[in-house]
């Protein structure tokens, strides 16, 4: 097994307690970082090519550098809403090592000039939220949070904010609305959150795994990080493998590891000795890949090049005995349920498609249904405020394109 970074110590039973974390060198990176100039940290993160682990893959250092250097409150929102189906890596990080996340938050906040950070965690993770709150209290007691951290004059408070069951709140501007106490309706961009974000103030929004990488980059340097992964996409990824696979779980592997290796060498291959039918490589919104496409290296650019996306690194394996119609049903059920209702193409399109698919499942499929699904999905794509519209349309279009014959065969009339 290659070098593990974030999950290095996850076998240790009580890593979530500050004493154990400190024994493992915890908070050393934060101490070190607070002696640097903020811009030196941003520069190092840029050089490390740390790309966002939440889905979009945006370079984190660049995102931070967009925050204007103005004298008004700025906020950090850690996106722990983890709702993309197939994704469970942030649960893994926060439950094993909440202090790593807090340490990353300290460094990020210092680098951008932030004194108040929120962890927006999905409401279903109540027990993990409690663990985070306990860890925050421990860190505060040690003086790693609060006033004048490490005698640097830097102050920081961290607040855990629970969501309440809405996939859309993982979208960054919906998350901001939700944190402001509203429905999770995405905002029109621009302005981008870096300039006008939470409470109209400059705001950085990063995924849990992205922030968890920050302490290690500070400690070991950008060159080490890009050496682990790729020059344009550094580090490791916590790949979540699930579905019809022998050994589901989180596997931390270098960015660029071929998908085939992740499924077969780590995930143990397709369950019950069955054959592979398709793989969703980056969470439900990532277009499905066929068995002949799985030699793709798992980095943002390579997966995009073959028409899908690395997304959250959530790999869902589908075996040859699973009907594609069933996959299509679950995909369309999910997006029609989770559409926030703000944009007409997404609100109506997703539920219309879901209705057609349910009819086909009930044995009432009509000639032309598959074309109609394709037409509707194409009309959602690119016509909504936020990426949920595309996230719904892309997997549907890929399923139809790659498995048209099988789907057409389900039509009875």
């Amino acid at each position: 097994m290659s070098e593990r970074v974030i999950s290095r110590d996850f076998e240790m039973a009580h890593l979530f307690e500050i004493g154990v974390y400190l024994e493992r060198g915890g908070y050393g990176a934060a101490r070190q970082a607070l002696q640097l100039k903020p811009e030196e940290i941003v520069e190092e993160i840029k050089k490390a090519s740390l790309r966002g682990r939440g889905g979009a893959g945006f370079p984190a250092g660049l995102k931070w550098s967009f925050v204007p250097k103005v004298d008004k409150p700025k906020y950090l929102c850690v996106n722990a809403d983890e709702g993309e189906p197939g994704t469970f890596k942030d649960r893994f990080i926060m439950s094993h090592n909440p202090h790593l996340l807090i340490e990353g938050i300290i460094i990020t906040s210092y680098a951008v000039g932030i004194n108040l950070a929120f962890i927006y965690i999905r409401g279903e993770y109540e027990l993990i939220a409690q663990r985070l709150e306990k860890a925050i209290a421990e860190a505060k007691e040690k003086g790693f949070l609060g006033k004048n951290i490490f005698d640097s004059g830097f102050n920081l408070e961290v607040v855990v904010h629970r969501g309440a069951g809405a996939y859309i709140c993982g979208e960054e501007t919906a998350l901001l609305e939700s944190l402001e106490g509203k429905r999770g309706h995405p905002r029109l961009k621009p302005p981008f959150p870096a300039s006008v974000g939470l409470f109209q103030m400059p705001t950085v929004i990063n995924n849990v795994e992205t922030i968890a990488n920050v302490p290690y980059i500070i400690q070991k340097g950008a060159a080490w990080f890009t050496g682990l992964g790729l020059p344009k996409d550094g580090g490791t990824r916590l790949f979540g493998v699930s579905g019809m696979v022998e050994r589901p779980g989180v596997y931390e592997l270098p960015v660029g590891t071929p998908l085939r290796r992740i499924i077969f060498d780590y995930g143990g291959g397709v369950k019950n000795g069955r054959k592979l039918k398709g793989v969703i490589p980056g969470g439900m919104s990532a277009p499905i890949l066929l068995p002949e496409e799985i030699d793709v290296p798992m980095d943002c650019e390579s997966v995009a090049k073959i028409g899908s996306m690395l997304g959250s690194g959530a790999i869902i394996v589908i075996d040859d005995q699973t009907p594609i119609l069933e996959v299509l049903r679950l995909v369309t059920k999910f997006y029609s349920h989770e559409s926030c209702g703000q944009c007409t193409p997404c609100r109506l399109g997703t539920s219309w498609i879901n209705k057609i698919v349910k009819r086909i499942v009930a044995g009432q499929g009509r000639k032309g249904d598959i074309d109609q699904i394709e037409r509707l999905a194409s009309q959602i794509k690119g016509r909504t405020l936020c990426p949920l519209g595309d996230a719904a349309a892309m997997p549907i279009l890929a399923l139809v394109k790659k498995f048209r014959q099988e789907l057409e065969a389900q039509l009875t009339h």
């Binding site: 279903e124 969501g163 309440a164 106490g181 429905r183 579905g243 679950l330």
Partner: protein, 157 residues
């Protein structure tokens, strides 16, 4: 168990406010608190939240109805939420749901007559490595089969 008075809940909500730069940001935590204390979100408690946070009641109502975790009707003592998303379904999530329906003799969305169990489906719980899974109130239970469900329900009865 006697229910705490709204006056008590009001005091608790007030302790949340200093965490946020603006009071109305505390709507979600306030509603979580209400649901935890009362079991669901009553119309009176919506008004209370609105009053404490200085917003119109409709602002609270729109939040309550937007988020699936907030319930406007009483839930059973144990709220069973079965994941119905892709990885869980591939691993037999529907069998889990059917078995629970059969054992509890209720449909999805219903509560048993004795008020012990409410059964609902839910989208991805972020525990796909433990598929099929469900939540009982705040606790996650994974890699379910009929035996495990029997054991689980026996513990809850």
């Amino acid at each position: 168990m006697s229910q705490p008075s709204l006056e008590l809940i009001k005091k608790e909500i007030e302790t949340i406010l200093p965490r946020y730069p603006r009071k109305e940001a505390a709507i979600l935590p306030a509603l979580h608190l209400v649901q935890r204390r009362l079991g669901y979100i009553t119309a009176e408690s919506e008004k209370l939240v609105a009053q404490v946070l200085g917003v119109r009641p409709v602002r609270v109502r729109e939040v309550v109805t937007f988020y699936t975790m907030f319930s406007q009707k009483p839930l059973g003592k144990y709220h069973l939420q079965v994941c119905s998303n892709l990885s869980c379904t591939l691993a037999g999530g529907e069998t889990v749901l059917d078995y629970l329906r059969e054992k509890l003799k209720i449909k999805v969305g219903e509560t048993t007559a004795d008020g012990r169990f409410t059964l609902t489906t839910v989208e991805c719980l972020g525990a796909c490595d433990q598929a099929p899974c469900l939540m009982v109130n705040d606790d996650l239970h994974g890699r379910l089969d009929k035996t495990k469900i029997d054991e689980l329900l026996a513990r809850l009865e």
